[in-house]
């Protein structure tokens, strides 16, 4: 109980301190700005696409974006493009009919969250190890409480960033879509932020786990970037080389150790795959973190 309380105190202080650190704040603001700009430009693009589609389908032209999205979803070529992009029929079924801006935001959040995580949180532990600040804490609480507290604090920080950018992206969408925004858009955007938050946890575990291995903040960031790049490339390669027979049949099992393998579960609407995927991702996050912690537990500080 005492350990949990101390962990929570470290987490709150970490969150508070991270918000004050200029670097984290700059990255956070950049991420938010990118999310808003992405939404703005995507709506422009969407509007253009819709205009062309409306002309092709001989539908009435509209000034508002998203009005013909229902027709868009019904068109065979668009479905083919989406099937190609998702490579998963179940996901395609679940996202069919959703408003395009929602999906654009979701894609953005899923794609950039790992980078946000590495840039904001990847060096927090290495920084404290390098400066010696950790020495003022670990004679007061256990090393595990410190590590878990830092992790929890950064999780809160990333969640804050994602929900804030979700709300910002909604504001842009609401303004740009004028009256044509669906009533549940805000709720849905926040839901996607929540899913991206879950998706961030294994990357957070990975980046912070690696951060235990070095005293150099910049080295920790570089290691984090290499690690997420590796995860990204390995997921693609494993998917590409997987087959139903022979040794290639085992490749998807290795893929389960990478966050990318569980990403599609977070795109589902049905609770079962969503819960399973989330559980996998949370477990992966803790496993990555605890691997780094196992080294830290034995190291001199």
């Amino acid at each position: 109980m005492n350990g949990l309380r101390q962990m929570w105190r470290v987490a709150c202080y970490e969150w508070f301190d991270a918000l004050r650190s200029r670097r984290a704040l700059v990255v956070l603001l950049l991420y938010m700005a990118t999310a808003l700009c992405n939404m703005h430009w995507s709506i422009n693009l969407l509007h253009k696409l819709e205009s062309e589609l409306a002309t092709a389908l001989q539908l009435p032209q509209s000034e508002s974006t998203g009005v013909v999205s229902t027709a868009l979803w019904k068109s065979k070529p668009f479905q083919r493009i989406m099937r190609q992009m998702t490579q998963n029929d179940a996901v395609l079924r679940d996202i069919t009919g959703k408003h395009p801006v929602e999906l654009i935001y979701a894609w953005f959040a899923f794609f950039y969250t790992p980078l946000l995580v590495v840039l904001v949180a990847g060096n927090r532990i290495a920084e404290d190890l390098g400066s010696g600040a950790v020495r003022y804490v670990i004679f007061r609480i256990s090393r595990s409480s410190w590590t878990l507290g830092k992790f929890l604090g950064q999780t809160l920080m990333i969640g804050f960033a994602l929900f804030l950018s979700g709300a910002g992206a909604y504001a842009v969408a609401k303004y740009r879509l004028a009256g044509s925004a669906p009533p549940d858009l805000f709720e849905n955007m926040l839901q996607w932020s929540g899913r991206a938050w879950i998706f961030s946890i294994p990357y957070l575990g990975l980046a912070m786990g690696l951060s235990h291995l070095t005293r150099s903040a910049s080295k920790a960031t570089v290691m984090g970037i290499i690690a997420i790049t590796f995860c990204f490339v390995a997921t693609i390669l494993l998917r590409h080389f997987s087959a139903d027979t022979g040794w290639r049949a085992y490749l998807p099992h290795f893929g389960m150790l990478l966050p990318g393998a569980h990403k599609m579960c977070l795109w589902r609407s049905t609770p079962a795959p969503l819960a399973t995927g989330s559980a996998y991702l949370l477990t992966l996050g803790f496993c990555y973190l605890l691997t780094g912690y196992a080294f830290f537990r034995k190291r001199d500080v």
Binding site: S131, F139, R140
Partner: protein, 304 residues
């Protein structure tokens, strides 16, 4: 009474070099112990091992009779001022120390009160909410010292506590630490022998990862049984001096031009010895200073 810190046969290697080579040392409760030794002797390594920062290869540590350092047992009872360790730069002294107080088990009110009081004690009452990064080196050092005394811990390990402070703050800090004598166990590592002499009642000489001597300052310097006279010249007539203090032994150190008088404190008081010896000395030479006991520097150099 159990010692506050008892370390037996500590061994710690950095690569092939043995930083601690079977160091055995016991710090009595409520003692103010000074650790003295050359650079690389193992003083900092010993402190860091005691605080649980370093993993020792062999040996035993017993803190307050409860075994080696464990945060759930010793948190708030043992604190340390580590060397070369920065505080988080964006934090503010008051909130940071309150946070540390909370971590070591104080209530929010106690932590805030203790943090404000300690920062006041180290003359930082007007910089409570200034970012650490905006404080000077000396001010940061004072915040670091203040964090050691949050919640009145039983044992405080201080690695070079006075280095980097201006002379006025050094004097203030000496007074601050002296006040704690007899109430808390302090271990002070310093290269400044004058500081150790003023602050400590016990000293340990550490050489090549071993404790070569542990004694009370009183016994080491012979404060109760030795008078040291720094003279303008060597006395010409020793027979006259010996006759003045027949129960004492006299020796002259030409290097420091000092006459060292050792006497039995049970047979004569230092006042009596001093009066008789001065009466015999002054017709022969001038007396520059008279001190009780040898200087720590002399004793330390003698032990090397």
């Amino acid at each position: 009474m159990n010692p506050a810190i008892e370390t037996t046969g500590l061994v710690k290697r950095y690569g092939t070099r043995r930083a601690l080579d079977g160091l055995t040392l016991a710090v009595p409760r409520f003692a103010v112990l000074g650790l003295i030794g050359p650079n690389g002797a193992g003083k900092t390594t010993w402190m860091m091992s005691v605080a649980g920062f370093l993993h020792i290869e062999s040996g035993q540590i017993n803190l307050l009779g409860k075994g080696p350092f464990a945060p759930d047992v010793h948190s708030g009872r043992i604190t340390i001022l580590p060397q070369d360790s920065e505080l988080p730069p964006e934090s503010r002294p008051l909130e940071l120390l309150t946070h540390y107080g909370l971590l070591q088990g104080l209530t929010r009110q106690e932590a805030a009160r203790s943090a404000a009081a300690m920062l006041g004690e180290v003359h930082l009452g007007d910089r409570l909410n200034a970012p650490i990064r905006s404080l000077s080196h000396g001010m940061r050092k004072r915040v670091m010292i203040a964090q050691c005394f949050l919640g009145y811990p039983e044992v405080v390990l201080l690695d070079e506590p006075l280095s980097g402070l201006d002379p006025r703050e050094v004097a203030h800090m000496r007074a601050f630490l002296t006040k704690r004598r007899g109430h808390q166990t302090l271990v002070i590592s310093s290269h400044n022998l004058h500081d150790i002499e003023v602050l400590c009642d016990h000293v340990a000489f550490i050489e090549k990862g071993r404790a070569v001597r542990l004694a009370t300052l009183e016994a080491l310097l012979g404060k109760a049984s030795t008078l040291v006279y720094v003279l303008t010249a060597e006395p010409a007539d020793y027979a006259l001096l010996t006759a003045a203090v027949p129960d004492a032994s006299l020796a002259f150190d030409t290097a420091s031009s000092s006459l060292i008088c050792r006497y039995d404190p049970h047979r004569a008081s230092p006042g009596e010895i001093n009066n008789r010896l001065l009466a015999a000395l002054l017709p022969q030479c001038g007396v520059i200073t008279i001190t009780r006991g040898a200087s720590l520097e002399t004793e330390y150099l003698k032990n090397l």
